[in-house]
Subunit: 319 residues, 2 copies
């Protein structure tokens, strides 16, 4: 790889992806990293524009993420939510007080005419985050889940309904028609792009929307640099929690083989967990490069180590 | 007074007025009281519609008001504000977490198309408040203060600038053109209206906007029932704090005589504090009825006692 190629484009969903994004932020120079975040889980709620994945990535990069609860801001309180509940307002989506500060800031600036890219750049800079965190698109894209009662917005299905309805389909409303954000388009077009890292986020729900943004799949097909995905699976069995139910109902197989097949020709290299080491031989047999390493990220050291492993898989050696 | 006349219309600004409104709410049956609240201090901030006087009255009636700080909600926390500050957002208006729950609920429902009257009825009912709290108008009216730099919205002048600019004038933008809210108009037109009580709020800044609503002054001039004002003054000298500076610059005299003159022919009866008992003779000499009593409201007992005194001044005897 040319020494002049050094920029890394990371694609991330929420919590798991955010951890690796934070690790990449620690081991790469700020100018060498663009983190593109899924916005298809975003939603409008109580007059606020909530961007769960952008927030997860932002809090992780700012060191504000709650590592025990696994989502949201650490040292969170819930006073506004208690008042909203007393006022008879919807309480199915739990909004912490510190988190609300973020939603309020974002929402009023969007209403004032700033793009989501501009707002995200402003707010992440204010929190001292150096690498660029950019939404996949400034145009709203919304994941929806088909049910017997019609299409449900993802958060309503996932949080309010707790995935109870039987899923009949999944779609990303708004694409085609959503161009990549300026930062995403610029990163894809960089002369010095060295690698694309797909963070350990759900391929179907978090990464697919990014790939569905206008022109993105074609740009990735045409790329000349490695694409490395870090599998979100640990212990092969399944994605944790109710999303396994959703994917099962949609006939999506779960496993590293299925993930590799899903990404298909886009994928050069898959990083899988040591618990799934048995998957490696078969994957390699089909021509894929595979790295087997610990992918569970308990702390900053884990995040940095996995970031280095993913970069190394892309031919980028760090410090 | 006819036994069939029993409805009381109270006009209120913020903190002081809210205390008496809460007292009236304790001594009158819910159906016998309409509390009309000044909305000219309302403002848009960070995408939220904030109604300081409606909130003060609501919190006082719900027993949620912070009596030590003198404004806002008791047991308040400030986590969202800390996040907003970290995000570089305006922090000149301090927004508590519980208070934010109120602003968020109100703002999204206004955006969804409910009127301020509808939102206020909904939210106060949810908090278990039985008497009607109604905005003076559903159309925005905004108090503005003239300065060398032009007209400043009231909260900006009062909170952000802490009344530092020299005031050259005061105006209520939006009137004429703002009709009374349905609840205000209905109360003014009731056959069983027994009295109008002007709560101890600033006559120039809190009560005048209510009187400036389309047709209200004429309706009050034409009324057939007593109008009793409770003076906001205690110890004669002055209104507390920076508002004294504002009124001085505008050439407004401060004192019970000035207040009586200001309300003029509208006023039948003025309730003044025992500390200002010396004012009584002169006021009575000009034909006004005067009640001298303690008007400082430290607790629920004070509020109820003053409410009974004001009602008694209007010829309404309670329990």
């Amino acid at each position: 790889m040319s020494a002049s190629r050094r920029h890394v484009l990371a694609l991330s969903g929420g919590v798991g992806g955010a951890k690796l994004a934070a690790g990449l932020g620690r081991v790469l120079a700020p100018d060498d990293l663009t983190i593109v975040v899924n916005t298809a889980d975003d939603f409008e709620h109580l007059g606020l524009t909530i961007c769960p994945d952008i927030d997860s990535v932002t809090y992780a990069l700012a060191g504000l993420n709650d590592t025990e609860r696994g989502w949201g801001v650490k040292d969170e309180t819930w006073q506004a939510m208690a008042m909203l509940r007393a006022l008879g307002e919807a309480d199915w989506f739990n909004l912490g007080d510190r988190d609300l500060g973020m939603h309020i800031a974002r929402s009023w600036r969007l209403r004032a005419g700033e793009s989501l890219s501009e707002v995200t750049a402003r707010l992440t800079r204010q929190l001292g985050i150096a690498p660029a965190i950019v939404p996949m698109s400034d145009v709203p894209v919304r994941t929806q889940v088909g049910t017997a009662d019609g299409w449900l917005d993802f958060q309503r299905y996932f949080v309010a309904e707790q995935c109870r309805p039987v899923a009949t389909g999944i779609r990303f409303a708004g694409v085609p028609g959503a161009p990549p954000s300026p930062g995403f388009a610029a990163a894809l077009a960089r002369d010095d792009l060295a690698a694309v890292i797909v963070c350990p986020s759900n391929p179907y729900l978090s990464v697919d929307p990014i790939l569905a943004v206008d022109g993105v799949r074609a740009a990735l097909v045409a790329r000349k640099v490695p694409l490395v995905a870090v599998s979100p699976l640990v212990g092969g069995a399944a994605l944790k929690g109710p999303l396994a139910k959703l994917l099962g109902e949609l006939g999506q197989e779960v496993g590293n083989r299925a993930i590799a097949d899903h990404y298909g020709a886009l994928l050069d290299h898959l990083v899988i967990d040591t618990a799934d080491a048995a998957d490696a031989q078969g994957l390699r047999g089909s021509g894929l490069c595979v790295t087997v390493t610990g992918t569970v990220m308990h702390d900053a050291q884990d995040r940095e180590r996995l970031a280095r492993a993913a970069l190394s898989a892309a031919g980028i050696e760090t410090g």
